[in-house]
Symmetry: C2
Subunit: 418 residues, 2 copies
Amino acid sequence: MDIKEMVLEKAKNAKKASRILAGISTNVKNKALTAMADGLVGAKDELKNENEKDIAYAKDKGLSSALIDRLMLNDKRIEGMASGLREIAVLSDPVGEVTRMLQRPSGLKIGKVRVPLGVIGIIYESRPNVTADAVGLCIKSGNAIILRGGSEAINSNIAISNILIKSAMEAGLPEGCIQLIEITDRQAIMDMIKLDQYIDLIVARGGFELIKVVAENSTVPVAKHSAGVCHTYVDVESDLKMAEDICFNAKVQRPGVCNAMETMLVHKDVAQEFLPSIIKRLKEAGVEIRGCAYTKRIVPDIIEATEEDWYTEYLDLILSVRVVKDIDEAIDHIMTYGSHHSDAIVTKDYERSMRFLNEVDSAAVYVNASTRFTDGNEFGLGAELGISTQKLHSRGPMGLEDLTSQKYIIFGNGQIRQ
Amino acid sequence: MDIKEMVLEKAKNAKKASRILAGISTNVKNKALTAMADGLVGAKDELKNENEKDIAYAKDKGLSSALIDRLMLNDKRIEGMASGLREIAVLSDPVGEVTRMLQRPSGLKIGKVRVPLGVIGIIYESRPNVTADAVGLCIKSGNAIILRGGSEAINSNIAISNILIKSAMEAGLPEGCIQLIEITDRQAIMDMIKLDQYIDLIVARGGFELIKVVAENSTVPVAKHSAGVCHTYVDVESDLKMAEDICFNAKVQRPGVCNAMETMLVHKDVAQEFLPSIIKRLKEAGVEIRGCAYTKRIVPDIIEATEEDWYTEYLDLILSVRVVKDIDEAIDHIMTYGSHHSDAIVTKDYERSMRFLNEVDSAAVYVNASTRFTDGNEFGLGAELGISTQKLHSRGPMGLEDLTSQKYIIFGNGQIRQ
């Protein structure tokens, strides 16, 4: 069977399964999620063995330490996947929720009810724990799922999805509701994104190139989880100790993920006081600094940033730093070079905090906190299927509600239109 | 200037205007809407004169009476456009609405706020009143709009949009926030749907071919307003008088619009009693009946329906009729041939009413009412920018809220991620 036929068959089976899954009770779905969690914890050693193959291959290929960190499965992360599934089981089921119901002058009662989208295809790279999060969220929201992970995590993904599928079938979910495309050839993606007859949403998580190819070629609606070129702007009136802690955390706590800070913007009037101390602390933590000319004048022992740096999502211990003359220049910089993911201001000033919130057009805009919080769990949605950096349908972390559609239901007693 | 450059320049101007418009107060937007309404009413004669050119051209081309009805502007319809704009002025402004705000264990307050999408491009056919509805909804929701109406209504659309733009500018809206693409060459559409850098949403309203071309080629997210192949299913236990009134209304009251019924499904056990009377009444109203073999046995003097009829949106005084053996066959028919727009059941049975609501996967599902109610005004949304027949972002009539995105706003006091 060729790739195209294989992908088509999986999509058809998923569509069939989705019709059954839409009617499965919350109890059965929760039982399946718990069984999946138990399954993962019970198979720790097997999962770590399979993951080691991927890690070895990544090291062979000379991938960065940040990328290898994203790829790694250890006991803690396997338990993390399991507890993610258990948390999803505890969340309320969005399916069937009536979000409004109005009585109109005609006497019609018109309501909106949440229904599953149907079949969700997810195209992702690197982190194998995405496999479990994505399956958990799709199943809980009544959607069938087709997974297409990256080649670098293929052994881990096969191992994880086999356990999830087995647990789901035992709990009574319909066959075909969870499927992994095991072919790492990019052709599988090209075939998948044309199947609008069977797939209702493509979630694309990955690098700029992948997202671009998917967005340009897909006939299925796409939720883009694009690069996180996240900024923190340290305002003129700000608690500089707080600013230092927030910036340090946003860069260093986990540099390999999309909500880590990539560019620090500093108001010129606090640059002299703020920069030497934060840069020293960052350097001690192994961060390479790429600063603007002004930054370099204050802290000479750094690399000078190029225009390209401002656009770059390093996903690594590298930070670009720019001194700006005011909040307008900071917002302009973010609007020009940012990726509309997560951006923060540190300030004591009320009006500028409000301006930043209103004018920065990103999925998550922060006052006085680390951008690292942009995450389904931290936002109280349970796990997330991705962080949407587009405006349509969902923005920011995509939780259960974001995986549903709302249809109108109308209760009449003979109304006709005049 | 060639078409591509012209469209690009309009899109760039719209983007620039959208940044200003996002910060314009509700009062100013409402003032503009009222001025637009006054402007249209004050220019009735001019509008009718320009519309006459379109009508004459349509008659020349031999378009159907239903299509000519869609195209026509008379005093009542011009007043309808104006009152639509006034109704939008009265609706609350969705921009700035905080739809939730939670305090998380970290102490972070995390909220979601509605913001404009930015620039909305609308590609539509026929009805010139769409021009006013679309402008009103986009302006009220803080979005710049690029209009691309069909060639058949070009004179009406130019006249309407000139009045709207003039009124908007006088009321203080930013230049470029309302733009019409006057070129009716299809190339303008192809250029427009590639401008994802400047346009945030394309709303596509029109025939199957237009929607298909737009969906397949657009790099901008598309809200499809596709065909309305709407059904009414007359169940075995139903008030046949009510069923007759609902079916008659759904077909005859305004056959040229997307929420009109195209196929009537009748349970076999009531077919003998129901069909002769409703078909007689429909025929007297000028409706051509295309029935299944079973229908033809009961009412011989009709055309026999072909497989293609079940897929067809006539938008005219034509109805296909099929006798089904039960609700399962009715739902199967709707899922196979329907366009997921609006479908109704007429029944006295509680369980079957619930099954129909749950299992029919359409934007609007009715019990005991005419499908003709699927409409922004009737649903209490004010006017509508289109009726989305897809599942992503919005489904059904797209009102003000559907033209916004929600971003996360996070209030901290120094939180860092552990």
